[in-house]
Amino acid sequence: MAQLLHQLFSGLANGGIYASIALALVMIYQATHLVNFAQGEMAMFSTYVAWSLIDWGMPYWAAFLLTLVISFAGGVIIERVVIRPFDKAPVLASVCVFIGLLAILNSLAGFIYTYTIKPFPSPFPEKAWYGSVYISPHEGGEIVVMLVVLALVYAFFRFTPLGLAMRASAQNPVSSRLVGIRVGWMLALGWGLAAATGAVAGMMAAPIVYLEPNMMGGILLYGFAGALLGGIDNPWGAVLGGFLVGVLENLAGAYLVGADLKLTAALVIIVGVLVVRPSGLFGRPVVTRV
C-alpha cells in the first residue's frame, strides 16, 4: 500500500511537469493548429539559462523569475522571426521548421554547455517538514509550484482583458481583428507564455533527470500524451491529462511493463488516443467541412 501511494504521489509530481508541457503545447495548438515539436528543447534551453544565472551567483528564486522573463522574450522572438513567415505554408513546411528549431536549440545547448551532465539545484531541501515516506520534499514542493503556475495562467486567461483577447484570437482571428485586437501580437504573446510555462517544467524536472541537452525528449513525449489524452484544444483538459499520464506512467512502470518500457507506454497512449478518440477526453470533436 505504501508502495502504491508512493508511486501515486511520485506520479503526480511527474505529472505536474508533463501538465506544464501539455499546457504549453495546447496554448500554441489552440492559436495556430500546430504542434510545437520544439517545446521540449525550448524548455531545456531555458533551464540551461537558469543554470548559468545560478552559476554566476544569483539566488535560486531570482534566477527562476529572470529565466521566466527571458524565456517569455525568447518565445516572442522565435514566433515573430522563425514561425511567422510560415503561417500560410502547408503543414509539412511548418513541421520541418519546428524540427529545425528543435535541432538548432539542441545543438546550441550542446555547443555552449557541452554534453556533460550537470546537476541542477532544487530550491527544496533534502529533508523538510513537507517530506514523508510517500513524497520527497522536492516532489512535494514541485507540485505546489506547478499548481501555482497553472493557477496564475488560468487567472490570466480568465480574468484579464489581455487573456480574453488571446483566447479570442485563438478561437476566431477574423472576428478578433474586427474588434481591434492585433492578432499577430497575441500569437507572439502566446508563444512567450508557452515558452515561460515550459521553462518552469524544465527547471522543476532538471533536479530529477539531471541537466543535459537531451533531457526533455521523454518528457516532451509524455507532454504530448497528456495533451492528446486531455484534448489538444482544451488547456485544462490537457493539464488533467498531464497529471493522469504521470500517474499512469508510474503505475505502469511499477506494476505492468517495468521501468524500461515506460516510454513505450506513452507511445501506446498517443496512438491509442489518436485512433480511438482524437479529440481526447475533454476536447471538442473537430468537424471538417467538405
Binding site: 480574453l164 478561437q171 472576428s175 478578433s176 481583428r177 474586427l178 474588434v179 481591434g180 485586437i181
Partner: protein, 237 residues
Amino acid sequence: MAALLETRSLAAFYGPTQVLYGVDLDVAEGGITALLGANGAGKTTLLRALCAMVRREGAIRFGGGRLDNLATEDVVRLGIAHVPDGRGTFVHLTVEENLRLGAYARRDKAQVAEDFERVYGYFPRLRERRWQQAGTLSGGEQQMLAIARALMLRPRLLLLDEPSFGLAPLIVRDIFAILRTINREDRVSMLVVEQNANLALDLADHAYLLETGRVVMGGTAERVRGDEAVRRSYLGY
C-alpha cells in the same frame, strides 16, 4: 450633410480574381445607406474591402482621413464596427465576454460601463443570458449580440452584413426598429447590406444597387424604390 465615408474607384480582389470594379460610394454623416443586390453581386466584398479583409485598390476616405493603407485592426480603432455575415460571434465565450471584447480598443473605462447598460437596455434578452456561452444562443439572439458587440466600440460607422439573414420576420422587425433608434439617438451612421430590398429601403435614406461588382444605381431611398427596373427585379412588383 458631409460624407462620413467616401470610396473612389474602389476595386477588390480574391487572389487574382477581381470582384469589385470602380465603386464610388458615399455614406452621409448620421445617415443610413443601404447596399442592395443579388447574391454574388459583391456586397459582402465591399464591406470586407472597407475593413481591409480582402486585397483592395482605390481610395477610401473616412472622416477626413485615408483608410486604404490601414490594416483591419487599425480601421476598427478609427471607429468603424463591422457586423460580418455569419455574425462572427465568439461562440465559445460568454455573452458578457463577447461584449467586453467589443470594447477592447477603448480606453475610457467609465463610458464602457455605461455602454454595457445601454446595450443591455436595447437587448434585454442578452442581459438575461449574459453568462451563457454565445454559441448556445438562438439565431436572433446571436444577431443581437453581434450588433451589441459592434455598439460597444461606440462606432461612428456601423457596417452590417445581411442582418436579417435566417431570422424570423418578427425578430427582424424588432432588430430593424432598434437600428433606427440607434441611428437617431446615438448618431451612428450605417451602411447596411441587405438582400431583402424592401426592408433595407424602409430603413435607409440612401441606397446603392450593386450588380456583378459594379454600382449600377445610387440615390435616395425614394428614388431607388421608385425605379422601374429595381421594382421589377428586387422588390417583386
